[in-house]
Symmetry: C2
């Protein structure tokens, strides 16, 4: 009879909160604007701070907010499109490359990668570290694993390490004819090292792009790049990609 169970599945408070905040973000806040602090917001909505934080966490995951300890919570700009696959059939370090080399070491790679690299599990490879900056902020950090076999002629390279050597190794790589590359994307969380480089806390969500560069039928190089998931939209294929907006976007004055 009459007792129709409206809200028989009551949605969690944090979920409702997220919705309310999301709408407020669209209509009442400008990009870059600072939100009230968490204690105030929690009080205003009549919930515990932990609950409020659960909602903020989701919004940050979706790239709507940016939180920084000691500073506050700000409205994030729309994610930037970062091209990943358009350098199709191009070696790392080639012209128009968005990366810049940091350093280069000669080390034994993690056992998990040896299989893909088709090297012995105890064979050292060149590991080039690179970083990528877009619109003034770091967006990705990469480790490039290059078996010695891919860059046979490294004599005459004076720099024993550092950025200069990294560039030299990449230059050597260009001499191989690139057949194709295979990309994979998955969700991960930033390790302590990558976190520092991306200016995030450890554990921050990242998109891990694994690229296998294939030349002469063999894996000539393996790249593992971690992109900030909060600020980046990865674009594959041809051009800059699709523009999606959540709602009205204004700029903080």
């Amino acid at each position: 009879m009459g007792t129709t169970q409206l809200e028989s599945v009551p949605e969690p408070k944090y979920w409702h909160l997220k919705t309310v905040l999301s709408e407020a973000l669209d209509s009442e806040f400008a990009v870059g604007e600072i939100l009230p602090n968490e204690r105030d917001l929690a009080a205003r909505f009549g919930v515990a701070r932990a609950t409020l934080r659960q909602a903020l966490e989701q919004l940050e995951l979706e790239g709507r907010l940016q939180r920084r300890r000691g500073v506050g919570t700000t409205v994030a700009p729309p994610r930037m499109g970062v091209s990943v696959g358009s350098e199709q059939h191009a070696w790392p370090g080639g012209p128009h490359d968005a990366w810049h080399a940091v350093d280069c070491r000669l080390e034994v790679p993690p056992a998990a990668l040896a299989e893909t690299l088709v090297t012995a599990t105890d064979e050292a490879v060149h590991i080039v570290r690179r970083s990528r900056v877009s619109r003034g902020q770091p967006v990705a950090s990469e480790l490039l694993y290059i078996p010695s076999a891919s860059v046979p002629d490294l004599s005459g390279i004076d720099a024993p390490s550092g950025a200069a050597r990294a560039r030299a190794v990449l230059r050597e790589l260009q001499r191989l004819e690139l057949e194709r590359q295979e990309n994979a994307v998955e969700l991960g969380s930033a390790g302590a090292d990558a976190a520092k480089e991306l200016d995030r806390l450890p554990g921050a969500p990242v998109l891990v792009v694994t690229t296998r560069h294939i030349a002469r039928g063999r894996t000539a190089a393996l790249s593992v790049a971690t992109y900030r998931a909060d600020t980046c939209r990865l674009t594959f294929g041809d051009s800059g990609g699709v523009e999606i907006h959540h709602g009205p976007e204004r700029q903080a004055s």
Copy 2:
């Protein structure tokens, strides 16, 4: 002097916990095995349940664990590679398509998409809903936005709605010559609708793949597909992709 500040930056408990658990997962547990419940684990490690949960959350985000209410926490199998870009230059619904059509509606798309679709903001388009299953479990849910202009000859289609109509619309789409497609990947969280279809709770992390299908220089169709981020590794380009393992993988008996 002498008081060298070891652990001047003490790592958070949950972070340390995550590391310990991660190693235990590699060495002491088999895929599919059920972990002790959260209260026991928390007690065993001498932390509050909330802290233990923070560690489990991270491991689930990384695809190492799977948690189900009323059941328990199990060790997840390695992520499955799901091909996304290899159907390059193929329309949705073509042969070897991993999707299966669910239904089709004629509706006005969200304003955020109208711009990309190059339609008037109040113009209705065909919205085909599809789902994708891999290894027996749902991995993705998709909404395909197809302007009427892309499928001009829909007369003679008897089915007014449902899966039959969806297939008919896709069949019509095949007649256009596909120029190219542009893909973008970003992190999102599952809405209530997608969550149900993916057998996850709302807010679960998903990888949103936006694909713009271009024919005759215009956007002929726009696809927004949400993949389960915990179980999927998206592969772009040629073949099945790169295999990465965390450590020893065993199978539950």
